[in-house]
Symmetry: C2
Subunit: 436 residues, 2 copies
Amino acid sequence: MKAVKVGLLGLGTVGGGTATVLLRNADEIQRRLGRAIEISHVAGLHIAEQTIVDPARVKLTEDAFEVVNDPDVDIVVELIGGYTLAKDLVMKAIDNGKHVVTANKALIATHGTEIMQAAAAKGVNVAYEAAVAGGVPIIKAVREGMAANRIQWIAGIINGTGNFILTEMRNKGREFDDVLKEAQALGYAEADPTFDVEGIDAAHKLSILASLAFGIELQFSKCYTEGISKITPEDVNYAQELGYRIKHLGITRKTDKGIELRVHPTLIPKKRLLANVDGVMNAVLVYGDAVGPTLYYGAGAGAEATASAVIADIIDTVRSIDADADHKVPLLGYKPDAMADTPVLLIEDVETAYYLRMSAEDKPGVLAHVSEIFAEHKISIEAVLQKEPEEGENLVALILLTQRVQEKNMNAAIKEVEALDVIQGGVVRIRMEHLN
Amino acid sequence: MKAVKVGLLGLGTVGGGTATVLLRNADEIQRRLGRAIEISHVAGLHIAEQTIVDPARVKLTEDAFEVVNDPDVDIVVELIGGYTLAKDLVMKAIDNGKHVVTANKALIATHGTEIMQAAAAKGVNVAYEAAVAGGVPIIKAVREGMAANRIQWIAGIINGTGNFILTEMRNKGREFDDVLKEAQALGYAEADPTFDVEGIDAAHKLSILASLAFGIELQFSKCYTEGISKITPEDVNYAQELGYRIKHLGITRKTDKGIELRVHPTLIPKKRLLANVDGVMNAVLVYGDAVGPTLYYGAGAGAEATASAVIADIIDTVRSIDADADHKVPLLGYKPDAMADTPVLLIEDVETAYYLRMSAEDKPGVLAHVSEIFAEHKISIEAVLQKEPEEGENLVALILLTQRVQEKNMNAAIKEVEALDVIQGGVVRIRMEHLN
């Protein structure tokens, strides 16, 4: 059989990794696929200086549209990122009848609906395994492996930078800003770290997972997003003392009222596997009604780990080239005519447990006052941690763990607690999930 | 589109679970597949007494061959287990041009080559996701998700019974026999627990994983298999003290000399995720050259967890019904004409690290004697743990951790150590892997 021709847009970290792995493992891939995959056309910046592909055999260009319009290219692999040029290129590729593989979560999360509709109309594949959790085949697991299940919830560590920072803070008692600087120096975090540490990148990925899990439209704009920049070593330590770890999780859950879609720091019991996923690694816990909890772990970023997912998508795309349209795996997991309009819940309507920390004056009755307010709002306290004041200090740290309660009730209770004379400053609140 | 008709062989634990989940989640499955899956014919013992499927709509029989020969059945789901009748039924189903889904690891491990050849000749699918790690989609992950990688090694907890026993021994300091009895009472272990605790079940699963990972024939008979029945609470505790946990692992690794294929108790560092997989849960760690380590975790057994994998296979089979043969996922991951004849290594030729425990007389020079023997065999000692003798005792427990060495060298060294006058009884040896 003749080789499949791939046009590569971008020869940076992931593009370079993809070309490297395709060349290095060509024989192994052909043993599995029965067909060679050939990089025939590559677009990149300063492409004349590249040393990864052989310029005698591969067309090189700085104009990505040349690749997308090349009639010899079967599959366009978009690895330039962003959602302006990338969107135009992907739409043009689809319009030209080419299959598309992309690692671009921002693109799928924000323009996925339009892209998938165009692809379905043209009968081409759009594959995006690398867009969530890098090399971990989580899209395949949710979309195919779990296909027998009503998926109930997903909780994932889907941003390696954030997980690296929280791991360092916990292991070494360091401050957020200090670790962030190191992450930037190591190349784990961008110069502008907002996307990673404020949870936007995780929200992109989570909205893709939610669509696949529940058969709803991509709804990135409705994802509640809270970052880790306000987490302090104090909270990391108290959590630890209470048997928990703080992880930056993307959580989506189907409830009777709608779908929760939220990214925020979360206390989880430290004996959970997810609590033991450290450093830049990613892991996603998926709970299906039949299978129960399943977890998928691996590198969420990096040149070759991401390439692993990109190339798996190329292979899957080749395998589905002649498949009957009725029988293909739907691009978003559910048949387009079977998508549900289940609403995404506002964060106020989400129910979760909480870790609360406040500074209280060291005098009798404070705990009674605070407890009473929570009781009035029907919030049960699960655990209390109160430390003796530091010598010469008049304030004590009071930490409460609550049972599950709707966020709006918690907001009302916190407002009242903060108004107490004996409470100084605001109440620090971190959501808590038991994941069982 | 008309419904796909499924014939179910067996309505016991997994068969009942499969029927239950297919009925309960019929709408969700159809949203994904775009087509209904209908159980049309079921064979089972005492079938007249069953209450899961509606006898007004489903043909029932005690003769499984009636299902296999039913011209209306598209896919035969074999859930009766064993490899005598099950093999005849599967071969007959293939001969009748039907696709087959099975959860039967013993069948695939021992007769898989013949079954796959027959299936390829007839152009039908044989799917067996449920045969390894129950509900965890590990076959799909290795065969498709990792398809870009040269897989280097796999290490898995792939028998829940064994993992439950080792977890209880560690958490509660209990003896093997004692926990085994409880596992039997709980229904986790069979009346004859040999398959589980002596590693035969794990060896079946491992030989399937090795075939998928490396493109070699199924070679269950060449798998080195050692059970957990000789593990003592003593060793569990010493391992813990040294920073390790004992897990019953299936390990397969590609080396320059051949492929390691071995099931045995193994010390692994306790900070590894795999070391934290407890109770009846399964987890498989797969190391690919591009992606690095990935881990897949979930329920390895149970009615609905196994059903989750069986039904995912039915869905995949329907999706591939019209696919071009050249483009289908090969049944064993590699194209039949691209299988390698890489030899499976004898255990003597395998290289691993070791935990060794011996009873030594409490007198000067013992450690020097022992160390000298290991040095002569070029075995490096990584760590030594020697406890003071119990009051009134003359023997001390001496524990050594070694670096990696070929098993035959270790055998020779142990023989010499055991011959020393100052060493009482045999040397207990447990292999050790760092999994990095």
